[in-house]
């Protein structure tokens, strides 16, 4: 093959001499991608031991998931919490992003730093801190408590995504709208928001996922009838390898991929080339 003998670019060694590099890259890629994907076929195995490839296919573990009141309850709690978190964190984060970006007050940098602390502070510390506060406020094991904590964790993500969208948005368009008589809120709603709506939609999806996937805080502040799916999964993982979790994992992978694909197709402004 002539390709192998050619240098990769004019300043590099030949493809043949760096075949090892390609091998490493492919292996690392496989390491990244395969373990998650391999759970999917395994979840359709009929055996108690998760086999790959399954000798016999069945929906046994999906039935066991759907038939379990505990898993169903946990799933419902997680979905509710994630949805409410999205509803709280997206407007709060968007407003803060717009306000801090447009005000250009020196104090704004400090406020921004304060708002992103939830992703910097180790989650375990947030978890026990929130737990301590909730014990006093009687918010432990309540949906409101989960949503409050998860919204706080999701706000920085919304803030960062929307801020970066605003940075590439030309704010003078808003000035034009206002010089033509629009009030500030009107100018924001009619001029700026439509142009950053893709980023806002993406951040909403990520806020949902932040709550849906969150383990540590949920471990401390959710429980009883309001135990989240992640909390139940974590506890099940510590005990034994229950194949039902393979089925749940497959569903979670599907939900996540669907949501992200949605964010990608809806969230990307159509580029004209």
């Amino acid at each position: 093959m002539g390709w192998l003998g050619r240098p990769a670019t004019e300043t590099q060694i030949t493809h043949r001499a760096r075949l090892w590099l390609y091998a490493v890259a492919v292996l690392v890629m496989a390491f990244l991608v395969l373990p998650t994907l391999i759970v999917i076929p395994m979840s359709f195995s009929a055996s108690q031991y998760l086999e790959f490839p399954p000798r016999e296919w069945s929906l046994r573990w999906y039935r066991s998931y759907l038939a379990s009141p505990e898993w169903m309850q946990a799933t419902a709690t997680s979905l509710k919490a994630a949805f409410l978190t999205m509803l709280v964190a997206t407007p709060l984060g968007t407003l803060a992003a717009y306000g801090l970006f447009a005000s250009r007050i020196r104090f704004g940098r400090f406020a921004f730093a304060l708002l992103v602390t939830p992703i910097i502070v180790p989650v375990i510390l947030v978890g026990i801190g929130v737990f301590y506060a909730y014990v006093k406020l009687k918010l432990v094991n309540t949906l409101a408590g989960i949503v409050l904590a998860h919204s706080m964790l999701a706000v920085p993500i919304v803030l960062m995504i929307v801020t970066s969208a605003l940075k590439s948005h030309d704010m003078s368009q808003e000035m034009v709208a206002r010089s033509l008589g629009a009030s500030r809120p009107r100018a924001f709603l009619l001029v700026t928001l439509p142009q950053i709506r893709f980023s806002v939609a993406t951040s909403a999806v990520l806020a949902f996922l932040t709550s849906f996937d969150e383990v540590i805080v949920a471990l401390f502040v959710s429980g009883g009838n309001n135990s989240t799916l992640t909390r139940s999964m974590f506890n099940a993982l510590r005990d034994q390898i229950d194949p039902t979790i393979a089925a749940i994992s497959t569903i979670m992978i599907l939900v996540t991929s669907l949501l992200l694909a949605l964010a990608q197709t809806v969230g990307q402004p159509r580029k004209r080339e």
């Binding site: 690392v28 180790p122 994992s249």
Partner: protein, 296 residues
């Protein structure tokens, strides 16, 4: 500017502008309030608790105990060991992949990036579970290893340090690859041509020109990986099988088993202090928003 300032209504306009900026800033207050109530106050309270003895009098007892009891020393040792090893493996494994990706045509690289980001957005628990299934005694890795004749007895691959490292590297790799990839893409290929013109061979040009230019991204990524590793809880708890006790796990046990808020808080304060100190170092080396923004 001075010409405007001389106009009679300049002061009024300036005041209006200031008030409007203040009102805009006010839009951030609900979010600020949320973060303040749900995070700053509780963590501040823990900070306070860490300086109280069990009878409620102010003391440094919890910090002193952390210094004196060897079990705490072991926890910190394990935490640093795991974090350093994970960071090291991520560099060795991630750098070549980022390098290959950075030389692919844009379209192919973006496609491959989906592969890098797939684990990034899959639930942490799902990935941890996947490794548990793959690495267990009757798991796929042992099964294939024995079938291929690489080893004869099932190896203990999980519920120990190795298992934890595999899981953590898997989770942290994207955090390293993204900034490294970014800094490699930004390198002007003309530098390499210049190096070739001046007589450098391909290998020499790589080490003398390309590699140093990619270092800021590598440093930034490695520091972020290290910092995030320090606070890990789920992966060591599940894949470590009780043998890998990192600071976060210790904090959780202190609360769940012993209700020892003072000790847990003190550990948390030390962990936070370490994290902030390292973040400060990182912020001097690289632009953090670029590193974090690439991922989140």
């Amino acid at each position: 500017m001075t010409a405007i300032a001389e106009r009679p209504n300049a002061a009024g306009l300036r005041r209006d502008a200031f008030l409007e900026r203040l009102a805009l800033f006010g839009l951030g207050s609900p979010a600020l309030l949320l973060v303040l109530v749900a995070m700053v106050l509780p963590v501040g309270w823990l900070f306070w608790l860490s300086f109280l003895a069990d009878d409620g009098s102010p003391s440094l007892e919890h910090y002193r105990r952390m210094w004196q009891e060897p079990s705490y020393g072991r926890t910190f040792f394990v935490t640093f060991q795991v974090s350093l090893l994970t960071t090291g493996i991520c560099i060795v494994v991630g750098y070549p992949l980022a390098y290959v990706l950075s030389q692919l045509p844009r379209r192919a690289a973006n496609l491959a990036m989906i592969g890098v980001l797939l684990p990034f957005w899959t639930s942490l628990l799902v990935r941890t579970y996947a490794w548990l299934v793959l690495l267990q005694r009757q798991g796929l890795v042992n099964q294939w290893g024995i079938e291929l004749g690489l080893w004869s007895e099932p190896l203990a691959l999980v519920h120990n340090l190795q298992g934890t490292l595999v899981g953590m590297v898997h989770i942290m790799l994207p955090f390293l690859i993204l900034p490294v990839y970014g800094s490699m893409r930004a390198i002007d290929r003309d530098y390499l041509k210049a190096a070739a013109n001046l007589g450098a061979g391909p290998v020499g040009a790589f080490w003398k020109v390309f590699f140093p230019l990619s270092l800021p991204g590598l440093f930034g990524g490695a520091l972020i990986v290290f910092i995030l590793c320090l606070g890990f809880y789920v992966t060591p708890a599940v894949l470590g099988g009780g043998r890998v006790i990192m600071v976060s796990n210790r904090i959780a046990t202190d609360i769940e088993l012993f209700f020892n808020w003072g000790a847990a808080s003190a550990l948390g304060v030390v962990l936070l202090g370490l994290t902030l100190a390292l973040l400060y170092v990182a912020s001097r080396l690289v632009r953090l928003d670029r590193v974090l923004g690439g991922g989140h």
